[in-house]
């Protein structure tokens, strides 16, 4: 009986562990993807702003657009965990 209880606990724990791992991967990988996407947008935005200060707002907007990818990852992670 004791052995059976232990097995259910282990199974629950490992299911939780896998969920946590999945959530971690979802945030981590999408974070890397966002970084790659922003890698070229960032310098371009800084360059454009350096030449024309009025572009700051637009440049900032373009720079944060790839942030949506990591937000999707975060949403998936939250759905997995709760």
């Amino acid at each position: 009986m004791a052995v059976e209880t232990m097995t259910v606990e282990v199974a629950t724990a490992s299911a939780m562990g896998l969920k946590a791992l999945g959530a971690g991967l979802a945030v981590g990988l999408t974070g890397i993807a966002t970084a790659i996407a922003e890698m070229t947008i960032g310098p371009a935005a800084v360059g454009a702003t350096a030449e024309n200060k009025d572009m700051f707002g637009m440049a900032l907007l373009f720079t944060v657009i790839p942030e949506t990818i990591v937000i999707f990852g975060l949403v998936v992670a939250l759905l997995l965990l709760f």
């Binding site: 790659i36 890698m39 070229t40 310098p43 371009a44 360059g47 454009a48 030449e51 024309n52 572009m55």
Partner: protein, 351 residues
């Protein structure tokens, strides 16, 4: 990943800055508006653009056409120096090599000015210290009295071997034309050897330089034709373009204008020029042909810069377009000062 980002980011940064600067250049409508203005109005108009600081700074020392001339030269030099400051790595190397052409122009201006006995102050007004020879060095050259002493002061510079070889002949014939040709040929051969030295991104730069050499050779062919120059023209052509020197010689001696244009059209590398050459079949003045060719060259370079958006091309296109903007403004100001009709001035503008 860090390696990729550290290499790519500065390229993107500089190329974007160049694109924004290019977008700030004067549009066609502004030139058309300036055609109907007087010299004073033109000065006031360009004071409201990127040339403001130079016009303000020089306003107390110069006036009229001199003010425009000096302000334009200063602005161009400042712009080029600024670009050199912000370009990183291989881009800096290429830009510096490309801007060395201004050394030749400045040196020849000093040489010609001194030879004609022009005052050092007047020569200084038209110098554009955008290359390796900086303002201090050019000032030092200006203090020298004779052509020989100026040449001697260049000892140790890249131009010196060609100068040493060609100057006696130039002084004998009292013409610096051959010396100028040789200097530019030397410049292009050095440029090509820099490009082929294996620096990353060199192949795009090579394509750009080849395009420029082709256009210069074609332009020279048209010039020789309009000047009815016959005989051996091999010395006047720049090697290493799409055309070999022998091919250029063969084309130069073709008498019929139609056949002459056909021969240029046959060249695979210059396919895009076909439409333009068709247009040139009608007899037009040489300066119009040159302007058309320049316009076309700029469009081709622009196309190249779009094909390779993160390369040396956007920088070079900006350098060229800026140069022609300054030339246009100078032509406008000079034309207005000489009371030329607007239509005549317009035919000299590259817009």
């Amino acid at each position: 990943m860090a390696d990729v980002s550290t290499r790519l980011a500065p390229y993107v940064y500089v190329c974007t800055r160049m694109r924004v600067r290019k977008a700030k250049l004067l549009p066609r409508e502004d030139y058309l508006r300036m055609l109907n203005m007087s010299l004073t109005e033109i000065t006031r108009f360009i004071e409201e653009t990127e040339y403001k600081s130079e016009i303000d700074e020089l306003g107390s020392s110069f006036s009229g056409i001199d003010l425009v001339e000096v302000a334009l030269s200063w602005n161009l030099a400042k712009e080029y120096q600024k670009i050199l400051e912000i370009t990183p790595g291989a881009l800096h190397l290429f830009t510096q090599s490309y801007l060395r052409r201004w050394d030749i122009q400045n040196f020849l201006t000093i040489l010609r000015g001194k030879h004609q006995g022009v005052a050092a102050g007047r020569i200084k007004e038209v110098l554009i210290p955008a290359g390796k020879l900086d303002r201090e060095f050019l000032d030092r050259l200006l203090t020298e009295d004779s052509v020989e002493r100026i040449t001697e002061a260049m000892r140790g510079k890249r131009l010196y071997p060609v100068l040493e070889r060609e100057l006696p002949g130039a002084l004998e014939t009292k013409s610096f034309a051959r010396l100028e040709n040789e200097l530019y040929k030397g410049f292009y051969s050095e440029l090509l050897s820099d490009v082929k030295s294996g620096v990353k991104g060199g192949s795009v730069f090579l394509a750009y330089i080849r395009l420029e050499i082709d256009f210069m050779n074609v332009r020279n062919l048209f010039r020789l034709r309009s000047g009815a120059v016959e005989g051996d023209i091999r010395d006047l052509m720049i090697p290493d373009g799409s055309f070999s020197i022998d091919e250029l010689q063969r084309i130069a001696v073709i008498e019929n204008a139609g056949d002459f244009i056909d021969e240029i059209q046959k060249k695979a590398g210059l396919k895009s020029i076909t439409g333009l050459l068709e247009d040139l079949r009608n007899h037009r003045p040489i300066h119009e042909i040159e302007i058309e060719l320049t316009r076309f060259m700029l469009a081709e370079m622009e196309r190249l810069s779009k094909r390779y958006p993160v390369s040396i091309c956007p920088i070079l296109v900006y350098l060229e377009k800026k140069k022609y903007e300054v030339q246009n403004l100078r032509a406008l100001a000079r034309g207005k000062e000489s009371n030329l009709p607007a239509e005549r001035i317009k035919s000299y503008l590259v817009v």
